[in-house]
């Protein structure tokens, strides 16, 4: 048997795993800076290929430093489940250099739903509170120059006879429910405006909107941005639910290791010098108990994950491992109820 052309190398920034075949190259890259050592991947990996290890093997490990992951190249089958489940987007699985997740394509595994709604029209000019609040620095806001404008398409519905010529010329115009609709604010309407046989289209110059960009795959949905926003321009639905308890009486005197380890700054120092959790922001990732020196002082339990619908044994198993059998049963029951409902619907036209 020929040996696998498999490579594993590690540098200061990342751990790299590669499996090369003729005309197919699988790889897995784990970023050291993005990994929080929460251990979700370790639990979820179907092949038990991932293990949490002290971060700097050669140097003396600082107490309370979050661990990093090590991937066993013998066991890893490059399925990408770790990539999908990492709340912080620290792992990327690729096929031939492209980010590709065959488990999603084959509906073998869901994606975490990161429901982030942004309404830039509500943004106050110059406001960057969300950017400042984000503990992971993945929010970016761009305010336009004062006075800058952008073209906006105006559709005269009385004139439009839905000939569709404009939709052929521009990707940004479409016909929805027998109405012409503009998908957004773009500069390229000129031609469609001019060719419209009905003269139903015109351009109006309006003030330019700011833009907010969130790196979604790295967002654990902690909601700091939402809370910080005074106008409600960002709304985030938490993808993870669960419970967390700090038993302060068990905390060692002056210990702040969990506070330092928390990737989303959900742990804070109380006035009495003890740590506590603000559950508004906690994502229940489990990074804090990994560094806690006392076994009983911190209890975190994940209870649910918001995900795209999927029917898969692999997902059921991952969910059960990450949360509990009860949660899995609930989900399965909900699924079968939905199925039943659908069946009833189908029967009654």
């Amino acid at each position: 048997m020929s040996p696998l052309r498999q490579m594993k190398y590690e540098d200061e920034e990342k751990l790299n795993l590669e499996r090369a075949m003729y005309r197919r190259k699988h790889s897995l890259v784990a970023s050291k800076s993005l990994c929080t050592g929460c251990g979700i991947c370790e639990v979820a990996c179907p092949k038990e290929a991932i293990e949490l290890v002290p971060r700097e093997k050669e140097q003396e490990t600082r107490e309370g430093q979050p661990p990093f992951i090590d991937v066993d190249s013998e066991k890893c089958n490059f399925c990408g489940i770790c990539d999908l489940l990492c709340p912080f987007g620290a792992i990327e699985a690729t096929v031939d250099g492209e980010h590709a997740l065959s488990v999603v394509d084959s509906e073998s595994f869901p994606k975490i739903v990161r429901d982030i709604r942004i309404r830039v029209d509500r943004c106050d000019p110059g406001c960057t509170l969300c950017v400042d609040a984000c503990p992971l620095n993945i929010v970016e806001v761009r305010h336009p120059e004062p006075g800058a404008t952008r073209p906006e398409l105006v559709i005269d519905e009385k004139k439009c006879n839905l000939c569709g010529l404009c939709t052929e010329l521009s990707d940004s115009i479409e016909i929805v429910d027998n109405r012409l609709q503009s998908k957004g604010d773009y500069d390229e309407y000129d031609l469609s405006v001019e060719v419209c046989p009905q003269d139903a289209l015109s351009i109006n110059e309006v003030p330019k909107k700011p833009s907010i960009n969130v790196v979604e795959e790295r967002c654990p949905t902690c909601r700091w941005c939402e809370v910080a926003c005074p106008t409600g321009a960002i709304q985030v639905r938490k993808a993870f639910s669960g419970t967390i308890h700090v038993h302060q009486e068990k905390c060692p005197e002056g210990c702040k290791l969990c506070l330092e380890a928390c990737p989303v700054e959900a742990i804070y120092l109380r006035e009495d010098g003890k740590v506590d959790v603000d559950e508004n922001f906690c994502v229940y990732c489990g990074a804090c108990p990994k560094v806690c020196p006392e076994e009983e002082a911190l209890k975190v339990k994940m209870r649910g994950i918001l995900h795209t619908p999927v029917k898969s044994g692999a997902w059921n198993k991952a969910l059960e491992k990450l949360t509990s059998t009860t949660v899995l049963t609930q989900e399965l029951r909900a699924k079968s109820a939905a199925k039943l409902l659908e069946a009833v619907k189908n029967r009654t036209p």
């Binding site: 696998l4 092949k47 065959s102 488990v103 692999a314």
Partner: protein, 821 residues
């Protein structure tokens, strides 16, 4: 006992001239006259060729006219003609086991010269006569034959063996380790020298095996246990779970690739069948023409998403609850056709393999050049996916290399030529260089093919590259070699390098050898019973070899051997009962201590699990399972076991006859039949001379050699005693030589304490191929005896004798012949 009066031996001695082979060195007349003087010898005769028809007629006549009841033929090695003469005396109405041979050719006339040869010949005859006096008639054992066969391995050799047997009307079970039959041949692109498409010609054979009403294919299964003996093997086979129901799977493949509405398996795994060069799914068939066309789930990689179950839908062929299944088979014969593995030089990084992207093995090239392979038949480079325009082949990687595999793998020259021709056909502009030591193209159509490759413009360079370097930028490979033919260094910059790596025994060969009780040669391949005359048989009766399990072979050779193995197996399976040589062990229940003392030593010593000693009962030998090594006989502390035809008494008499004259000058050797004795025969055949003071006693296995034989030899004043066996890992009785070594190591210490110099009792190992070393060693040992000197030896023996006599008391007392059934 038969009607013959065995208590009053009437021995006839027939001395053979063997043309001038014996008569040219040995004074045959003198030997004949000497033989006439031996006790119980009533008739002597010499012949030019005793084995010839008139020679045999003389024996038959002698038996009739002189009422002979024992026959001794002094001629060649019993390994040569013992069966011939046994048949001959049998025809004259005498029990075939009342015959003994004196080897005065291989062990005498061919290795000695001068008067010493004649003297030795006389004593060798005396030894044979001494044994003959105590020979007993033996009845051949017959066992019933189960008319079913097992073939292990479904490659081209195994398939042919199975088909031939099945066509004879015999039920055949084919056990294949992998999910599909076809073996290595299925991986190849074209075959040499005809350039037939390999799978196109093999595919129909695979289907024939699957469809044949007399063949039951058990794929994805392994042989776990084998018990029993020729005609009556009980085999346990473990069928690994495929997690797909064989009777429901239609082979449609929707579970892997997905159907119109259902997605398939999401997991991609390197395909072993493609030498890990291309992907397969976690639910897979190794290749399109697989037989049986049943999918298998690779649970090592499966993430259990059950998408395959959805895709399979109403066919419901997938069962994740499947468990390993044990099947028990009763078969009469077993054919081992487990093939070879290709040597992968990754550990040693030979020629940069595993280190440089564009260095591949020939089997990897086969998969690349194959249209069904991972690249669709395009030979491209790993580094950039481009077609190489200059390719170098390096021959004998791992073969013909004393550090790895000494043997020549046989087919590498031809497949390298074949692949060169194919590449030239596909892209005539490709430059091809073959670095070789010798091109070996000896069979039908091979030389013509070699010429064809040369005519197509393949460049041949005699010499192995001494250096290979990778150009970091282009990933080309720079090869430096010395072209021996032109005597100048050459340098080639190749875009791809193909290593023609050795064929080596599979990783399971060792385990299987143990399961089947068959032996392997020093190269690790299964060992045949005789390299020339029994190339298909193993030392265990009823088990045969086919294909590359025995040694690397090309396709036609494997097919021939598979067919041959079917013939050898059919020879047994076509009979209702089968005869077994009765030279087995036998327990005297009167002497056995087990009923009283829970002894059971023999049970632990038997390499074949042929002895049972239930508490309170005497030990029993299952004669059909006993291979007749005699290890238990030698190890029984109460002399309760005897080996028929090699009884203690017979061997003791040989020892006494050998040491009757000038014992101090002599070396007495106990040689095992299969390796050492054959090695001594080879010394004869090769005419490697050695001094004539060596006396050889043949035993089936060195395990048979009793401590008492050695003690008796020293009691009689022997100068030196040697016990020789097969090399430690090569015992034809699995572990007989190990038992001998354990026993003799202890005995050596005792002899030492008694004052016998340690160099006077030695253990040696000779293979059947070591005629030269045997002769060399005999010379050295004789020198040792000479250096010690007769006086010292005598003194040592004198000192040890009283204790030796005490030790041997019970042997000497129990001199009455053992009754045989």
């Amino acid at each position: 006992m038969s009607g013959e009066n065995v208590n009053e031996p009437r021995i006839g001695v027939f001395v053979c001239h063997c043309g001038s082979n014996i008569a040219g060195t040995v004074d045959v007349e003198a030997v004949t006259q000497f033989a006439a003087t031996l006790p119980n010898v009533v008739y002597v005769k010499r012949n030019r060729y005793t084995c010839s028809d008139p020679g045999q007629e003389e024996i038959r006549k002698g038996i009739e006219e002189y009422k002979l009841n024992r026959v001794v033929v002094a001629a060649c090695s019993p390994r040569m003609h013992e069966p011939t003469f046994r048949r001959c005396v049998g025809e004259a109405g005498l029990n075939p086991f009342l015959f003994e041979m004196a080897n005065i050719r291989e062990h005498c006339s061919w290795v000695h010269s001068g008067p010493g040869a004649t003297e030795k010949a006389k004593e060798v005859v005396a030894m044979a006569v001494a044994k003959a006096r105590y020979l007993h008639p033996l009845k051949t054992i017959t066992v019933p034959v189960t008319r079913q066969a097992l073939v292990i391995g479904g490659g081209i050799a195994g398939m042919n063996a199975a088909l031939n047997l099945a066509d004879m009307g015999i039920k055949v079970y084919v056990v294949e380790k992998r999910p599909t039959i076809g073996g290595h041949m299925a991986q190849l692109d074209k075959t040499f020298p005809t350039l037939d498409c390999s799978i196109c010609i093999e595919g129909p054979v695979m289907v024939d095996v699957y469809r044949h009403p007399n063949i039951e294919l058990i794929s994805y299964a392994e042989v776990k246990e084998v018990a029993g003996f020729v005609g009556n093997f009980k085999v346990k086979v473990e069928k690994k779970p495929r997690y797909v129901l064989q009777d429901k799977c239609t082979g449609c493949g929707e579970c892997a690739t997905g159907g119109t509405e259902t997605p398939g398996c999401p997991i991609e795994v390197p395909n072993e069948f493609d030498m890990q060069l291309g992907p397969r799914k976690a639910i897979y068939v190794p290749f399109g023409q697989a037989v049986p066309l049943v999918y298998t789930i690779d649970r090592d990689h499966c993430i259990e998403c059950y998408k395959c179950v959805d895709a399979c839908g109403a066919r419901a062929a997938i069962d994740f609850e499947m468990k390993p299944e044990e099947i028990e088979l009763n078969v009469g014969t077993i054919i081992v056709a487990t093939g070879y593995e290709i040597y992968v030089p990754s550990e040693k990084n030979l020629f940069g393999y595993g280190q440089y992207d564009n260095v591949i093995t020939a089997l990897e090239l086969e998969r690349l050049i194959n249209a069904a392979g991972p690249t669709g038949g395009e030979v491209v480079r790993m580094s950039d996916g481009k077609m190489p325009r200059r390719v170098a082949f390096i021959q004998c990687v791992g073969s013909r290399d004393v550090n790895l595999h000494e043997y020549c793998s046989g087919f590498c020259c031809m497949y390298a030529l074949k692949n060169s021709v194919l590449m030239k056909q596909h892209h005539p502009e490709t430059e091809i260089y073959i670095f070789f030591m010798d091109i070996r193209a000896p069979f039908k159509g091979f030389e013509e093919f070699y010429r064809r490759a040369r005519e197509m413009g393949v460049t041949f360079i005699r010499g192995k590259p001494v250096e290979i370097r990778e150009d970091l930028e282009t990933k080309n490979l720079l090869l430096r070699a010395e072209d021996i033919d032109i005597g100048a260094p050459v340098e080639v910059e190749a875009e791809m390098v193909v290593l023609s790596t050795a064929a080596e025994p599979g990783p399971d060969a060792e385990k299987l050898a143990r399961t089947l009780n068959i032996t392997r040669g020093p190269d690790g391949f299964f060992l045949e019973s005789h390299p020339k005359l029994k190339p298909i048989d193993t030392a265990t009766e009823g088990i045969f070899l086919a294909g590359s399990a025995q040694a690397p072979k090309d396709i036609p050779y494997s097919v021939s051997q598979g067919t041959g193995a079917a013939a050898r197996a059919g020879r047994i399976l076509s009979r209702d009962v089968w005869d077994i040589e009765p030279i087995v062990a036998h327990v005297d229940p009167e002497k056995c201590r087990n009923p009283k003392a829970k002894c059971g030593i023999c049970v632990t010593k038997c390499p074949f699990v042929a002895i049972q000693a239930p508490p309170g009962e005497a030990a029993r030998v299952n004669e059909a399972m006993c291979h007749g090594c005699g290890t238990c006989v030698a190890d029984c502390p109460h002399d309760a076991i005897t080996q028929r035809h090699f009884t203690d008494q017979q061997i003791m008499e040989q020892v006494r006859a050998a040491l009757a004259e000038k014992p101090e000058e002599k070396i007495l050797g106990f040689l095992c039949n299969w390796c050492s004795y054959a090695g001594a025969d080879l010394a004869g055949t090769s005419r490697f001379e050695y001094p004539p003071n060596v006396r050889i006693i043949r035993v089936m296995c060195s395990g048979r050699v009793d401590k008492d034989f050695v003690s008796e030899a020293f009691r009689l004043g022997a100068g030196m005693v040697i016990v020789t066996g097969c090399h430690p890992q090569d015992c034809h009785y699995i572990s007989g030589n190990h038992r001998m070594k354990e026993r003799m190591d202890i005995h050596a210490r005792i002899l030492n304490k008694l004052g016998i110099s340690p160099e006077r009792f030695q253990i040696h190992y000779f293979s059947a191929a070591e005629g030269g070393p045997f002769s060399q060693e005999m010379k050295k040992l004789t020198q040792t005896v000479t250096d010690l000197g007769v006086e010292r030896i005598k003194a040592e023996n004198e000192k040890a004798r009283p204790i030796l006599e005490k030790m041997l008391k019970r042997k000497v007392e129990a001199a009455a012949p053992v009754e045989a059934k």
